[in-house]
């Protein structure tokens, strides 16, 4: 479980986060949604300690994260997997070396075992056979999937994904969403996903938090999204006339049944 308590963050005089408190439960896909520039990435980076908040606290299973020393932080981070918005693959290493890097660093497996593990991860993200390619030789969507493979290779207890399916075609995006959901349920992972993808919200949103103007503007799950009367959330999720019609139809169908 991860808990954020009253997080504030400003860059100079730009107040990005204005007092956010939230709890993220294990075995659930926790989604953070919000407009571009709402502060999703900043919030996620605060949760993992890459950005220090102006004030506020983060707890990992009741351990105050910011009170730990560097060594203790590293111990927690060995249980963390993270996909960056820009993938952040090491460009001087091949795909296989990228995914193997955490194993090389922290596991006692033999090379053959590590290879098996890498191939298993690549298959899970539906990308077999690219082991020897360099990140610059594969597409942005493929890089995202390699990033996910690298994030899950050590079976993390906490998984952070910054826009896992931006830049993917709808079919692959769905696949990635399902994959993240599956491993979350299977291994009881505390998963936190940043997204502004409508489909993800409706498919895998166990626990949705809507950031708006630096505040937590709405909380709920995917079923409640449909019925929300929160104007900001409605205009964010059902942005197009087409989606608004779909919503009306879905609500009508629901009230009939």
């Amino acid at each position: 479980m991860i808990r954020a308590e009253n997080i504030f963050k400003s860059f100079d005089d730009n107040e990005v986060l204005k007092g956010i408190s939230m709890e993220f439960l294990p075995g659930k896909t926790n989604l953070i949604i919000g407009r571009s520039g709402a502060g999703k990435t900043v919030f996620l980076k605060i949760l993992v300690g890459l950005i220090i908040p102006t004030s506020g606290k983060v707890y990992y299973d009741d351990i105050d994260f910011f009170s730990l020393n560097k060594k203790q932080i590293r111990e927690i981070r060995m249980q963390v997997g993270m996909l960056f918005q820009g993938s952040a693959l090491f460009d001087s290493m091949t795909v296989e070396e990228n995914i193997r890097f955490p194993l090389d660093m922290f596991s006692n497996m033999s090379l053959a075992e590590k290879r098996d593990r890498v191939n298993w991860c690549l298959e899970r993200v539906n990308l077999p056979g690219v082991n020897d390619k360099y990140p610059s030789e594969i597409s942005g969507g493929m890089q995202k999937r390699v990033g996910i493979a690298r994030a899950i290779v050590l079976s993390p207890k906490y998984l952070f994904c910054d826009e896992p399916n931006s830049g993917l075609d709808p079919r692959t995006a769905l696949l990635i969403d399902e994959l993240i959901q599956d491993i979350t349920y299977e291994h009881n992972i505390t998963t936190i996903i940043n997204t502004h993808d409508m489909n993800s919200v409706m498919e895998i949103g166990d626990n949705i938090a809507f950031l708006h103007q630096g505040r937590l503007a709405w909380r709920g799950n995917k079923d409640q999204v449909l019925e929300t009367e929160n104007e900001e959330l409605k205009s964010f999720i059902f942005a197009s006339p087409f989606l608004q019609r779909l919503r009306t139809q879905a609500l009508a169908a629901k009230s009939r049944s």
Partner: protein, 248 residues
């Protein structure tokens, strides 16, 4: 340039403290160290050889010019070239040049990794990035740069020979006589002390510049330049201090 010196010095010391801790995984560090040795060593042999030939040659020719019409015997040329190379030019000039080549490269590599979030990605995995990214570079430099300095000294002496013997200014025997005269072993010790100190300065200063880069390509360029400028200033400062300390 920010002259908030104490702040930067404090950050530099703290980075070094983080960097010099016990590695998590020896074999990964060893692999990285070997790669760095190859980059620093093999990658720099040609340029070090080139400048060393000229260093020796110029020293020889100019000294010959100064000797003209004096009572100092001409075979002193070999002696002067040798000691100049060992005491000053091999360690100092080699390291100044390496700061330009190796140092700027290290700053750019680390700065690029910082900007592309590679360092953050490693941190999230639980890697002590200061340790993994900096220590192998420093260790590799401490091994390889003294070797390059040794090479430089030999080649400079060869350069002095090439500039004076084939041109008929002195004979090979005279040059050799100079090389053998007044030899003080301590000068060689001094050369290695300088080589170690300068190698440490140029790698740690350059890594420090790269590791904390922010912003974009302009900042990356600045970090790379600062790596060279600060390394050079500190190397010359250390050169002076060592000269005072070791010869007093």
């Amino acid at each position: 340039m920010n002259f908030n010196l104490l702040y930067h010095f404090g950050r530099y010391i703290m980075l070094l403290r983080q960097a010099f801790s016990r590695p998590e995984n020896w074999s990964m560090y060893w692999k990285e160290t070997l790669r760095q040795m190859n980059d620093i060593g093999i990658g720099s042999i040609v340029i070090v050889a080139l400048i060393s030939v000229f260093m020796g040659a110029v020293a020889a020719v100019q000294f010959a010019y100064q000797l003209d019409g004096t009572l100092v015997p001409r075979w002193y040329i070999g002696y002067i070239v040798r000691d100049l190379a060992i005491i000053e030019s091999a360690p100092t000039i080699t390291c100044l040049v390496l700061a330009g080549k190796v140092g700027s490269n290290m700053a750019a590599e680390l700065g690029g990794m910082r900007q592309k979030e590679h360092i953050d990605a490693m941190e999230i995995m639980g890697v002590n990035t200061a340790n993994y990214l900096i220590t192998p570079k420093v260790v590799a430099a401490l091994v390889v740069i003294p070797l390059l300095v040794t090479l430089s000294a030999y080649i400079a002496i060869g350069g002095g020979y090439l500039a004076t013997v084939p041109t008929g200014q002195i004979t090979a025997e005279e040059y050799a006589r100079g090389l053998r005269a007044f030899f003080i072993e301590f000068n060689v010790t001094m050369m290695y002390v300088k080589a170690f100190v300068f190698a440490f300065i140029l790698t740690t200063v350059s890594c420090f510049q790269g590791y904390y880069v922010q912003g974009g390509s302009i900042e990356l360029g600045k970090a790379s330049t600062n790596a060279v400028v600060f390394s050079n200033i500190l190397i010359l400062l250390a050169d002076y201090l060592l000269a005072v300390l070791l010869t007093s």
